[in-house]
């Protein structure tokens, strides 16, 4: 109908909607349909526009994620029998699978890539934890390989103090007690140099920026306590 009219003013006059809206959702032309003729999925409490309930949005997101997961999985090379795979490679595969399953289950929005976004406040909270817990949480967001390796160097499975290398520096500064028979100051300074290089990369992602910046602040604060 509106294509035959061809004039956007006439379209608005007849339908009561802009031509762009009519073109994008022609079902709105039918004043007698309820929820775009899809009352099971959608609701229309106002009578003017149909809505998708949050529960259905989650299912739709999960479905999209599943489609992406199957697509990616079917394009992956076959996994070897494991005899030639290193532990790190296996961990990468595991991480990839976990991310894919999170994507498939709708926990990660597909349009945000493999990692959801993280705030500076969230980074600050995470890095107050201990060892592997901090590393694993930060690695969910770090995309830059160099940043990932610095995180692996800073936070160890065997850490007992919170804060990783920064925590060790702070502990020695506050108590005089060495951690691992060392004061960790040079490691802190060198890690700081590496993090600054990551931050100076003009192509850095927002997540990498927040993670690297949070670690820089943590190490600087620890080094400030060293007399």
């Amino acid at each position: 109908m509106f294509l035959a009219i061809g004039n956007k003013d006439q379209v608005k006059q007849i339908t009561g909607n802009d031509q762009q809206i009519v073109l994008s959702d022609p079902q709105q032309l039918n004043s007698y349909s309820y929820s775009e003729n899809n009352p099971i999925i959608k609701s229309d409490p106002s009578g003017n526009i149909s809505l998708v309930p949050p529960q259905v949005q989650v299912l739709q997101k999960a479905l999209t994620g599943m489609q992406q997961w199957f697509s990616t999985f079917s394009n992956r090379p076959a996994i070897s029998n494991g005899t030639n795979q290193t532990k790190e490679a296996l961990q990468i595969n595991q991480k990839e699978n976990d991310q894919m399953m999170s994507l498939a289950m709708g926990f990660i929005a597909p349009d945000e890539g493999m990692a959801s976004s993280i705030t500076p406040e969230a980074v600050e909270k995470i890095i107050q934890g201990t060892g592997a817990e901090v590393r694993n949480n930060l690695m969910k967001y770090a995309q830059n390989e160099k940043l990932g390796n610095i995180i692996k160097n800073l936070f160890q499975d065997t850490d007992r103090l919170s804060g990783g290398t920064a925590g060790a520096i702070e502990h020695t500064a506050n108590t005089g007690e060495m951690v691992g028979d060392s004061n960790h100051i040079i490691k802190g300074r060198e890690s700081l140099n590496g993090l600054n290089k990551v931050l100076n990369n003009p192509a850095i992602s927002q997540n990498d920026y927040h993670v690297a910046n949070g670690l820089v602040n943590q190490i600087i604060n620890a080094l400030k306590k060293v007399k």
Partner: protein
């Protein structure tokens, strides 16, 4: 070969382990910052050990590693000693496979690595 100063450590590491320089691990984090290069070397070494599980005790690269680390630790330079402990053993200590390195290290150095693997460091007091 082993360095006398921290700034020489990377150059000597790479010269002592040309296999590392050829690997994808070299420069993965940085090829200029000593602690980051040694962290990358740790990952290279762990990968190497996992691929050569049956021959670790007699492997040439492992023997060179032990000799290199013993010299670093015994150099008399505190920064190099700390590089061994914090820059290498702290990372290696997360993996039980690193226990296989202890027999070829000197008694003192092997004992330090064992402490990292067993997680016995946090209660240490300053000497």
């Amino acid at each position: 070969m082993a360095p006398k100063e921290l700034q020489d450590a990377t150059k000597d590491l790479v010269e002592s382990f040309p296999e590392f320089k050829k690997s994808e691990f070299y420069g993965a984090t940085d090829s200029e910052i000593t602690y980051l290069v040694f962290g990358d070397f740790d990952r290279f070494l762990l990968d190497y050990m996992m691929k050569n599980l049956d021959s670790i005790s007699s492997d040439d690269l492992i023997k060179r590693f032990c000799s290199f680390v013993n010299k670093l630790y015994d150099s008399g330079n505190n920064n190099l000693r700390e590089l061994v402990l914090v820059g290498m053993f702290e990372y290696l200590g997360q993996y039980q496979i690193s226990r296989k390195l202890i027999p070829c290290l000197s008694k003192d150095v092997g004992g330090k690595l064992g402490k990292f693997i067993d997680g016995e460091w946090s209660d240490d007091k300053k000497d």
